[in-house]
């Protein structure tokens, strides 16, 4: 998976700004979104359970969520490319826990064509 945040590898600009400085939007193409639902890993959960005695960062979970956000972003980028956009503006992320031990990561934004 190439890094979806990297403009050079995707050819697409992503930002959570509504207007990019010095750029003009030629056309708005609608909302694009990418989402992924992840369940926590049983093995990581046992380790995290042990870690919960002494406290501190649960690195396994940090990485898991980071991967999930990258994947959600990647999917959003795919949607944007499919409508012919070269940028996604006003990007937002949300996290919802669906059931115990599973979470949905959603990324969405407006697909646009910049001049």
């Amino acid at each position: 998976m190439s890094n979806p945040f990297d403009e050079k590898s995707t050819g697409l600009t992503i930002s959570n700004l509504e207007i990019l400085p010095g750029k003009r939007v030629k056309s708005h193409l609608g909302v694009v979104q990418g989402s992924t639902v992840r369940a926590k890993h049983a093995g990581k959960d046992i380790l995290a359970g042990l870690k919960n005695i002494v406290g501190g960062e649960l690195k396994g979970y940090t990485e898991l969520l980071q991967e999930a956000r990258e994947e959600a972003t990647e999917r959003m980028v795919q949607q944007a490319k499919s409508v012919g956009a070269n940028a996604i503006l006003n990007v937002r992320y949300t996290t919802t826990s669906i059931t115990m031990g599973a979470a949905e990561i959603l990324a969405y934004g407006t697909a646009v064509i910049l001049e």
């Binding site: 992503i14 207007i19 400085p21 010095g22 002494v54 406290g55 501190g56």
Partner: protein, 162 residues
């Protein structure tokens, strides 16, 4: 052997003591590291405002983000669990959330600096409970910070970004 009769008490009190000492040590270490890195990264500016300075100049942009999942220790869990019975300010988890948020912002700034940016605008922070409530789940909080990093397109004067 009568100590076996008290095994549950022994386990509980041991976990409580281990949680207290280890958790407190981990927390003060984490805060110390956060303060140190906040000083180091003071040059990377972050704002929650939407409109960047010099909004009219073309800029290079990149979405940068950082996140941290911080778990509670056994002592904090016990105190918090008693606290939920009567309500009120849950002091034992406040510092946990503070650590997670500041760590997330730091990681976002680190990512920005790694790619040569010194300014992040429109910073959003969200905190979530990734384990779906406290019933049987692990008491851990996640903070996620993201924003748009900006630098002028003209590569000759990177220091004038601000």
């Amino acid at each position: 052997m009568s100590w076996v009769d008290y095994l549950d008490w022994i386990v509980f009190l041991t976990l409580l003591a281990v949680g207290y000492f280890a958790g407190r040590a981990a927390e003060s270490r984490h805060f110390a590291s956060i303060r140190k890195r906040e000083k180091e990264l003071a040059k990377v500016l972050a704002f929650a405002t939407k409109y960047p300075p010099a909004a009219h100049l073309p800029q290079q942009v990149r979405l940068v983000s950082g996140s941290a999942v911080v778990g509670s220790d056994y002592f904090k869990q016990f105190v918090a669990s008693l606290r939920t019975l009567i309500g009120g300010r849950m002091k034992s988890y406040e510092s946990l959330l503070d650590r997670a948020r500041r760590e997330a912002i730091l990681r976002m700034k680190e990512e920005a600096r790694r790619h040569g940016y010194r300014l992040v605008v429109n910073v959003k922070i969200e905190s979530s409970n990734i384990t779906g409530g406290n019933r049987g789940g692990l008491p851990a909080v996640e903070a996620f910070a993201y924003g748009t990093a900006l630098k002028p397109v003209a590569p000759a004067e990177p220091d004038r970004a601000v």
